[in-house]
Amino acid sequence: MKNSNKGLNHDEPILFDIGGMDKSGVDLNEPTFKENFIGECFEDREIGLPGLSEPESIRHYVRLSRKNYSIDAGLYPLGSCTMKHNPRLNEKLARLKGFSEVHPLQPLSTCQGALELIDEISVWLKELTGMKAVTMTPKAGAQGELCGMLAIKKAIESRNECHRTKVLVPDSAHGTNPATAAFLGFDVVTIKSDKNGRLNFDDFKQNVDKKFAAAMITNPNTCGLFEDDIIEISNYIHDAGGYLYCDGANFNALVGKVRPGDLGIDAMHINLHKTFSTPHGGGGPGSGPVVFSDLLKDFCPAPLLKKDEEYYYLVENLNDKDIDKSFGRLCVFHGQMGMFVRALSYMMSHGSDGLRQVSEDAVLNANYIKSSLEDVLTPAYEGYCMHEVLFNDDFLSGTGVETIDFAKALIDKGYHPMTIYFPLVVHGALLVEPTETESKNSIDQFIETIRELASKTQDGEEFFKKAPIYTPIRRLDETKAARNPVLRWQKNDVIAAE
């Protein structure tokens, strides 16, 4: 194999090119049984799984890891993703055997500590949101949305108002909102944002009719702005017999500072992997508990955690009387316990005082970036932002540089780009969320870098179009990947798929 390494950048072949059928990194005893009890579907087949010894595996994955950007290595300003520091205490505690080695169907008498922990985190979430009930089972934010909307659907059914099928979603919403509503058979109507980046309340009202079921509103919204009319909107929704679902992905702007329960919200998911620092892990696992108002709390999914004097128990079966209004079950077992441990550790470490400081610093950092860049970039909206700041691409007009090029140039400067082309309501959007765990030095250097790049856009597009150049791999042909999908390794490199 040709050596194309460059200093610390090692190329790493695919596992299937380096592994062997006779290699293993695990020593196991030899089984000695004579006859199996598998029956008719026993087969001693060749699966084709390459193995590696332990040193080879470690090297394979360590070399791969070095091709990734990470929050530990640098500022990760992905808007709407809340890439904050992940405290290592949380990792340590999640690995305590009394949490990690506990089976979800152990007798309840043997896992009282685990249930108590779920109760504790429930109390924190209810208190921080000012909501009446919480269900911990949703596995990620999108499943939290599904949970909230299923509760709303069930509530509508219980009122015998199944004609209510319309869900209003602002055009700035995360794609998961319309996808969730449509998945459940609701008719999604998109509401335009107004010139201030908020939901257009007049347009909203015009779309509320007899078929109105619910609205799904993100607050702060994905433009990084608080929906100022939220209380009027929630009153209007309730007067019209509907429900207000809030996408809580941006709760980091409000935690400890403003309670969603005071805003008239009926259901909201909380991304523990955003606000409460459980690690993103390259795309999960997440955890998306949902808090509910009085109107919806009876429709929570199974299991329901209850306490009888000092003894915790779970109501798990859908035919149990205690949960006869429940909309059902979202996943096997009781949710992302490993994430609950981490999130509770985070909450306790901050306390109510520290959590308020979290939202204040997150908002301060975003506004500081906005103020420091508004003469060179073009903020999409006037006024203060919340925890993230949105720019449009007006500052690039006439330069030939596009948002994507600007983002890729930022990679060469050692940063993960901000969220780009989202939200859809702003042309060539750049959404910057610094979070509260960046120091002033770190943010100043980021600002300096952006200023330098912004001024460079005046020197022509070439520098930007060829970026990035310092990465292990340069811009990839995404069209080719989709047109001729190769989604797995094949023997002899036969091209897979269609």
Binding site: L15, S24, G25, V26, F37, E43, I47, G48, L49, P50, G51, L52, I58, H60, R66, N68, D72, Y76, M83, H85, L93, F99, E101, V102, H103, P104, Q106, T110, C111, W124, K139, G175, A182, F226, D228, D262, H280, G281, G283, G284, P285, G286, L318, C331, V332, S349, S352, S371, G383, I411, P417, E436, T437, T471, R475, L476, A481, L487, R488, A496
Partner: protein, 448 residues
């Protein structure tokens, strides 16, 4: 506060750059209408030592697989995880990165996901796999939704021996009306019944193998029949290690395979996080939910990987997406793929056989206890036994002797009296002779 880098001076300087006097001015538009700075009835911040103490005490209240004799399965299994797995997944670059939206600085994640997709396809015997779902149950529900889209039919037939939680999840998440669902809970799979129920409105038949009670089936003829009726066969696997001894679902003709991948690389974690595996045939590629990694090349012609076929996904298609899933089980899929790489072909099949051997040994010992009956005619690493007393009472009394002896069927199926005396017992490579002897001695006392 140890996690917050800004100092008082920093904050003052920054406020002055922004041009406000205090932080609350940045929240002033909210304060006009809603309450800011509410009184929150929660304790203030704690030191690392205090937090650690509190959570350690909670942890100490639980019995767990390493301080008991442990025989519980039912969709979550105790296996030994090599030390290097947990070491690698805690590397910053894997632990603290986001979904690989910027491929140039995410090749580490993208490449291991491509390898993961290949390993999963090989295990299930299918053409292609996605980059993971939340867990086996949600993968199954997504498979059912997928089958409904592909066939444009609504009827769903669940085998009566599917994990009861999985059945509940399918009903809830896939939005099946009662009259569109066929599902009866009892012990043995009723293959004839499945054949009889398939009709022109059947989108899919869902069968778990090995099933909830541990039994294994060859589903080849069912697959053929279901497909002849224009429906799809979905095979659910909750113990992925079984694929080292069983015919692969693909070889039996499955159209979609949904697995729980927890057994490789992931501890039981009281139920999560886990990793769902979803595989299918090439022809259904565009109906798969979730992330998929594909190969491509960069501007210099160098091979690399990207997230692809995103025209199926919510961030592009919004209300027309195949699913609403966004975040999946990235780090758990990493643990899965590392463990499987460490095992390799030989290790995986060996581990699979050690599990079977362990269950065979336990069965032999258990059947020596008077009045205990084995209900299975086949099993992989778990089986169902009938006791002379109620399963729940047995399990609770065994727990008092630090033996976690299995799952009383009545915990999950509480409306079938016939199964009240049954428990599902699992045994894996981690169970020693001592564990088994503890089980037997305790059981003899409990049943005396």
């Amino acid at each position: 506060m140890r996690y917050l880098p800004l100092t008082k001076n920093d904050r003052e300087e920054m406020l002055s750059t922004i041009g406000v006097n205090n932080i609350d001015e940045l929240f002033s538009n909210i304060a006009e209408k809603a309450n800011i700075n509410p009184k929150i009835n929660l304790p203030n911040h704690k030191t690392e030592m205090e937090v650690e103490k509190h959570l350690s005490l909670l942890s100490d209240k639980n019995l767990h697989a390493d301080n008991s004799s442990f025989f519980i399965g039912g969709g979550s299994y105790k296996h030994h995880i090599p030390a290097s797995v947990d070491h690698i997944i805690q590397r910053s670059e894997f632990l603290t990165s986001y979904t690989p939206y910027q491929p140039e600085i995410s090749q580490g994640t993208l490449q291991y996901l491509y390898e993961f997709q290949t390993q999963v396809s090989l295990l299930t015997g299918m053409d292609i796999s996605n980059a993971s779902m939340y867990d086996g149950s949600t993968a199954t529900a997504e498979a059912v939704s997928m089958a409904k889209r592909i066939t444009k039919r609504n009827g769903v037939i669940l085998s009566n021996t599917i994990h009861p939680h999985y059945a509940d999840v399918i009903k809830t998440v896939s939005g099946i009306k009662d009259n569109e669902l066929v599902y009866n809970r009892k012990f043995s799979i009723d293959i004839d019944h499945l054949f009889n129920e398939v009709n022109d409105n059947t989108a899919c038949v869902v069968v778990q193998n090995p099933d909830f009670f541990g039994s294994c089936y060859d589903l080849s003829s069912l697959a053929e029949f279901v497909q002849s009726k224009g429906a799809l066969l979905i095979v659910v696997v909750t113990e992925v290690l079984s694929l080292g001894m069983l015919k692969s679902p693909g070889a039996m003709g499955a159209d979609i395979v949904a697995c729980e991948g927890q057994s490789l690389g992931n501890p039981m974690n009281f139920g999560g996080p886990y990793v769902g595996l979803l595989s299918t045939k090439n022809k259904y590629l565009r109906q798969i939910p979730g992330r998929i990694v594909g190969e491509s090349e960069d501007v210099d012609g160098k091979k690399g990987f990207v997230l692809t076929l995103s025209a199926r996904e919510q961030h592009i298609r919004r209300e027309k997406a195949t699913s609403n899933i966004c975040t999946n089980s990235g780090l758990c899929s990493l643990a899965f793929t590392i463990h499987l790489t460490l095992l390799g072909e030989k290790g995986f099949k060996n581990l699979s056989r050690l599990n079977h051997e362990s269950a065979l040994n336990l069965k032999e010992k258990i059947l020596k206890i008077p009045e205990v009956k084995l209900l299975n005619k086949s099993f992989f690493n778990e089986f169902t036994i009938e006791l002379p007393i109620k399963g729940e009472i047995f399990i609770n009394r065994m727990a008092e002797k630090r033996v976690l002896a299995g799952i009383p069927v009545s915990r999950l199926i509480n409306n079938n009296k016939e199964l009240d005396n049954c428990i599902v017992v699992a045994s894996t490579e981690t169970n020693t002779d001592d564990d088994m002897n503890s089980f037997i001695e305790a059981a003899k006392e409990v049943l005396r």
